[in-house]
Amino acid sequence: MTARAWKQHSILPGFGLSLGFTLLYLCLLVLIPLSGLFIKSASLGPAEFWNVISGPRALASYRVTVLSALTGAALNAVFGFIVAWVLVRYSFPGRRIIDGLVDLPFALPTAVAGIALTTLYAPNGWLGQVLTPLGIKTAYSSLGIVIALTFIGLPFVVRTLQPVLQDLDVEYEEASASLGANRWQTFTRVILPPLMPALLTGFALAFARAVGEYGSVVFISSNIPLETEITPLLIMTKLEQFDYAGATAIDVVMLLASFVMLLVINGLQWWSRRRLGA
């Protein structure tokens, strides 16, 4: 096999240079540090490693993290869909501004989001004052975590759906209407199916982002072990107890989970391509 058999021939220059630089940067900045993590956690030994990642507090934190992230992502899926629909299909004053605002969670630092949300929802905050007398505990509860994670994942669903919505051909809707379907039928049978892959991709992205979130959650959560302690916080706590190996062990679990999520997202993308391509 010649040296270049693994690459298609191209007349464009710069392949060697760009690939070499990319690989070097990637190794130095990403792969070596991440492998250091695996090595450190390996110092635990398989039995102890398993003990740490399956201890009751760790398991509870996975549950809290995953459930909250799922709920937040689901909220985003539903409302994000509505937002994307409204932004693409309707016109109203201020539409452009609101459309720009959707990216705010992306641009705002997580710590600032955390203290802002906590201030809002604490019992003496604007929203907390209204909700607490109704018996709805927002800050310092699981609901608070869900709120923070919904904020964080908000742009993902909207931004994934918008281009697909824009590109939807109106002909199909018109055909469906002319064949006698009412609007709801047209929506569920003609419009929704091609949007599902994008919707699921957005959902998966929001979920993946929410699972690793630390800065905004740690202010608004009550951080009670086994109840409202998220996995990143558990890692920090283990760090502060000088339990590096334990912290890295749980890190590894989170990393693997993220990697799996990435693969899922890629798979969704592939499915979406098959659905919509040609």
Partner: protein
């Protein structure tokens, strides 16, 4: 016709690529649309949701920042420790963003314009920092360069300080913002294909001329957006930096860390005052992005062609 999404398995990049899409003007006349009541309901839900989750927190930051008056606000952001935090944040961004910019262009070039084995693996690896929790991002550098880390003894013996000093913060920030520019450019360049570059080459342009005159103008908009996002994230990173910082007041605190410190010292209004700087930057980021999107929607004779996802 429905535009095929970007190929290459970079699902996430496509989603982010679509982040760059300008809002297309709504279809002027849709012969099929929802009944009026439904439309109003949907709009109400959408705007209510956004108001609750976006507008209120934004307003809270500024309201709390000015709660104790303009004098407190001005004092909070001109304190020496605040100024040094601002300087450190700017320095960190000034190093991470260009570094990731160069990397992003290089990575996008080889991934988008060439076909080779292992391409999807490479793109997934590039995506990794995006899915790693910030706490982990900081921890990995402590594991490597901390006094108890792999390179610790060597660094200490030679008096090189990485963790708990500026280089550690820069490293952690660069790691966290690593994929931003690349993920923005890759689907963009993939969608643009190689025809224009090949044409330029066949007309006698050298590699660099081709890059400067054909590729760069095509990707300007995506590049700018990626840089803006990368910058916003670099300046606002909290979790990763808090692990590697050491929190030495006046020396190794970035703006987000300084916000936390002020908050912990009961200076809540001051904390929000400093936070409002970053919030303001976030808003500027959004405005800049909208402006860029708007500019590219103008029928502009000399401007770059429309971004592909809006076609």
């Amino acid at each position: 016709m429905v535009e095929p999404p970007a190929v290459g398995g970079l699902a996430v990049a496509h989603a982010i690529g679509s982040l760059a899409a300008p809002p297309a003007p709504p279809a002027a006349t849709r012969s099929v649309t929802e009944p009026r009541a439904v439309r109003w309901l949907l709009m109400g839900l959408a705007l209510g949701f956004l108001a609750l989750f976006l507008v209120l927190p934004l307003v809270t930051v500024f309201e709390q920042a000015f709660a104790k008056g303009l004098a407190t606000y001005a004092d909070a952001i001109t304190q020496p420790v605040a100024v040094s935090a601002i300087q450190l944040t700017l320095l960190t961004a000034a190093i991470s963003v260009p570094a990731n910019l160069i990397f992003g262009v290089a990575a996008a070039w080889c991934i988008a314009k060439f076909e080779f084995a292992g391409k999807s693996l490479l793109t997934t690896l590039i995506d990794l920092p995006f899915s790693v929790s910030p706490v982990i991002s900081g921890l990995i550098f402590v594991v490597l360069f901390g006094a108890q880390g792999f390179f610790g003894p060597f660094l200490q013996a030679n008096g090189v300080k990485i963790i708990f000093a500026v280089p550690g913060i820069v490293l952690a920030t660069t790691f966290v913002t690593f994929p931003f520019v690349a993920r923005e450019l890759i689907p963009l360049m993939q969608a643009q294909g190689t025809e224009e570059e090949q044409a330029a080459l066949s007309l006698g342009a050298s590699g660099w001329q081709m890059f400067r005159r054909v590729t760069l103008p095509n990707i300007t908009w995506g590049l700018l957006y990626g840089v803006i996002l990368c910058n916003a994230r670099a300046m606002g990173e909290f979790g990763a930096v808090s692990v590697v910082s050491g929190k030495i007041r006046g020396a190794t605190n970035t703006i987000p860390l300084h916000v936390e410190i002020l908050y912990n010292e009961y200076h809540v209004a001051a904390a929000f005052a400093v936070a409002s700087l970053l919030t303001f930057l976030a808003v500027v980021t959004l405005v800049a992005k909208s402006f860029i999107a708007w500019k590219f929607q103008q029928p502009d004779a000399g401007g770059a062609p429309e971004p592909p996802s809006g076609a």
